[in-house]
């Protein structure tokens, strides 16, 4: 009796101390479909591992421009212990000096993703997933128009023919929603053989670029596409889920949009079409990593959480939710990817996009997003009919030359 009391007291004391010693790690990322994923990881998949490591994760997703939020937070000293870094603006974050290099073993991760997050020779973020672009198509629209589905061997010309045929047969449907955004146009610009930075590190919009630019903006007058703004949408996926277009150019993230807007959609995925002249397709690698805040009071715990969130178990689970592909090389030949559901197909194609053709990471060094501005403006001017191709490209080239001059 006496002994059990002591035992109980001892046990409860132990429980108290272990509860008291549980460390709070604040993590943050952006909103949208991610939220359910990360929350599922923390409360479900990794719950036991976190409890065993005595870590309590507080997840605070942020809507809006995340890079602005992080810069502000890092300067204010209120940044979370662990946060997303998009490769796109990673330089701005790493350059603040408030980011701690990762202590995890980076060998199981895909090398080009690790390279993307290397700054000053150190790996500053642990890549959690990646995405590339693919061509999604609406099977019902193709069926109703009597046009064959896009295959993995489409070229720009054959795709344009198919889209024109669809629009001719079903006038209320367009082929594609064209957006003035380099983040999608690059799939074609890079396919033409153009490189964003030439040997001297300058951006030159050569004839290859012009060919891709003319084809992309020419889709609208050809009747194969419509400008997304013209139907009130901001991304190709928006038009696709509203069944206004037959195809879309998006990555695996489109699964979230379809789940919300068109849960019954009958769709498939094919590879980005190739440039008939160069015979290649282009693609961008989008990747996001978990970064540890150097000012954090619980750095070790944060590193541990980062490792858990990118562990094989976590990445397999995320893969099966279908929204993004694992950054670990070992999960590449995953049986899940071979399935036939639309989610599995798009992920399979997105994965193939990693090594198919002229692929560049979505990353512009120190210039950040500002580098895309001239191209986006040029696309917008031609799509809204405010300028023709040559004028727009000349203006864009002038801006790139200005940027290069400023850097010196």
């Amino acid at each position: 009796m006496h002994k059990t009391k002591i035992l109980l007291a001892g046990l409860s004391l132990l429980a108290l101390t272990s509860a008291a010693s549980a460390v709070d790690v604040r993590i943050s990322g952006w909103g949208g479909a991610e939220v359910a994923l990360v929350n599922g990881l923390i409360t479900d998949v990794l719950a036991e591992d976190l409890k065993a490591a005595d870590i309590n994760v507080v997840y605070e997703p942020v809507d809006g421009d995340f890079s602005q939020f992080i810069t502000n937070a890092l300067s204010a000293g209120t940044a979370p212990d662990l946060f997303y870094t998009d490769i796109f603006w990673s330089r701005a974050a790493f350059g603040t000096g408030k980011v701690e290099p990762t202590t995890a073993d980076t060998s199981p991760f895909a090398p080009n993703l690790i390279d993307a997050f290397t700054y000053d020779g150190k790996v500053m973020a642990l890549p959690k997933d990646f995405n590339t672009l693919a061509l999604q198509y609406n099977k019902d629209i193709f069926d109703d128009a009597g046009v064959a589905y896009p295959t993995d061997d489409e070229t720009w010309a054959t795709l344009q023919d198919k889209l024109v045929a669809i629009h001719a047969k079903l006038p209320d449907v367009n082929g594609l929603c064209v957006v003035p955004d380099y983040a999608r146009f690059a799939a074609f610009a890079l396919g033409s053989g153009w490189e964003p930075f030439n040997a001297e590190g300058k951006t030159v919009l050569d004839d290859n670029f012009k060919r891709a630019f003319a084809w992309y903006t020419g889709l609208v007058p050809a009747g194969a596409a419509v400008a997304a703004a013209d139907v009130g949408e901001g991304w190709t996926g928006g038009c696709f889920t509203k069944e206004l277009t037959a195809v879309a150019v998006e990555g695996a993230w489109i699964i979230g949009g379809i789940r919300d807007g068109a849960p019954n959609l009958n769709w498939g995925t094919a590879r980005i079409p190739k440039d008939p002249e160069s015979g290649q397709a282009g693609n961008l690698i989008f990747t996001v990593g978990w970064t540890v805040n150097a000012d954090s009071a619980v750095k070790d715990a944060a590193q541990k959480v980062a490792e858990l969130l990118t562990s094989e178990k976590a990445q397999q689970w995320v893969l099966e939710q279908g929204l993004a592909l694992p950054s670990r090389s070992a999960l590449v030949d995953n049986p899940w990817l071979q399935g036939d559901t639309p989610e599995q197909t798009v992920n399979r194609v997105v994965f193939a996009g990693l090594s198919d053709g002229n692929v560049e990471p979505f990353f512009f060094g120190d210039l950040g997003g500002a580098w895309m501005e001239p191209i986006n403006t040029a696309l917008n001017s031609v799509l809204t009919g405010e300028a023709d191709v040559d004028t727009a490209l000349a203006a864009a080239q002038a801006k790139f030359d200005g940027m290069a001059a400023q850097k010196q």
Partner: protein, 363 residues
């Protein structure tokens, strides 16, 4: 200590909290901003003095010149239009004897909304396929009937007026009795025309980019014209109240004297009302200038609904350089632009004061 000396001490004590607030958050802040404009601070490093580099880079930045021209054009257009509209509205409400308070309240209601809520509503309204476009579409499609209506109205009104002028004196062109008759006849006539379907009706579908466009109309981007429309909507009521108060303090004797001199409504307005309202007009214009030069909220909320060069203003340029999206902070540039904005505001306010609209009423 006598009362006077006590008053001195108490005076300073009473004013102290406000002075602390003013001193820290205004004077000290202004001086610090000036200092930062000569450094390369980016929120994380220790600032190093780099002389006038920021100002030079700023003047070379095409975004800056765009922001400056947008801000100046926006300020001019909005200030002028909101002053005139506020005055007209005040005159109208002043002419109503009964329930003036009710109309004042009704007109004032839109301006209590926050700029964020207002901008969201207007964002929805000005979507490419939104309600505004539908309205314009309706008007354009029905243009023949609208033209017919106006033509019939004008024809009847002018006939009646000139007919009356042959016999009577002092019949104004906008005679209200004849106008009512003309209105009723025009409505009936247009309705009959519609029934008989004599004029064509169109069924075109439009898409107007109110916001997402790089087009410029008269030195101001089309996007900012839409924002100006929204701005005028919310600021006119407050300014109307100022004019109303001013109108009610104009002695009636002035109007009676003008009437005896044979002045019509329009002349009374131009030669009695407007000069008497000079101090109020000055206040309204000053408020307008100060408010429009600081335009920030709407630009931030518009976000990616419009290309940056079509919506950027100086205030937003300052903010965007301090917290850029996806790049390192440029506090130096931001401060340089901020100093420029402050100096610009001061110059314009004191310029308009010196140029003509004096404080005192000219009698």
């Amino acid at each position: 200590m006598n009362q006077r000396q006590r008053d001195h001490v108490v005076g300073y004590l009473f004013v102290l909290p406000f002075l602390i607030s003013l001193g820290t958050f205004f004077l000290y802040a202004a001086v610090r901003t000036l200092i930062f404009s000569f450094t390369d601070y980016n929120l994380f490093n220790t600032p190093a003095f780099i002389g006038l580099n920021n100002y030079v880079a700023m003047l070379r930045d095409s975004m800056f010149t765009l922001a400056l021209s947008n801000t100046l054009a926006f300020s001019l257009i909005v200030t002028v239009s909101q002053t005139i509209l506020a005055l007209l509205l005040a005159v109208m409400v002043n002419g109503v004897i009964k329930a003036r308070g009710f109309w004042r309240t009704v007109f004032y209601l839109p301006s209590i909304m926050s700029s964020a809520a207002m901008t969201l509503i207007f964002l929805w309204l000005f979507q490419r396929q939104g309600l505004m476009t539908e309205l314009v579409q309706f008007v354009v499609n029905a243009r023949w009937y609208i033209a017919a209506f106006l033509a019939i109205f004008l024809a009847i009104q002018l006939t009646l007026v000139f007919n009356a002028r042959r016999r009577y004196d002092g019949v104004s062109l906008a005679d209200p009795v004849f106008a009512t008759v003309a209105l009723l006849v025009a409505i009936v006539a247009t309705y009959l025309l519609r029934l008989s379907a004599l004029l064509p009706v169109y069924d075109e579908q439009f898409l107007i980019s109110w916001l997402n466009t790089q087009a410029r109309v008269l030195f101001l981007p089309q996007t900012l014209w839409s924002v100006a429309l929204m701005n005028v909507f919310t600021t006119v009521p407050t300014l109307m109240l100022l004019f109303l108060a001013g109108l009610q303090s104009i002695p009636v004797a002035l109007y009676e004297a003008a009437e005896l001199d044979g002045a019509g409504r329009v002349r009374q307005f131009l030669y009695v009302t407007v000069p008497s309202l000079t101090p109020v007009t000055f206040a309204v214009v000053t408020l307008g200038i100060i408010g429009t030069l600081q335009m920030f909220d709407q630009v931030a909320i518009l976000g990616d609904a419009a290309p940056l060069q079509s919506r950027i203003t100086l205030a937003f340029y300052i903010y965007a350089n301090a917290f850029p999206e996806g790049a390192a902070s440029r506090i130096g540039m931001s401060s340089a632009a901020a100093i420029l904005l402050g100096v610009l505001t001061l110059i314009i306010v004191y310029l308009q004061r010196a140029l003509g609209i004096s404080d005192k009423v000219d009698r």
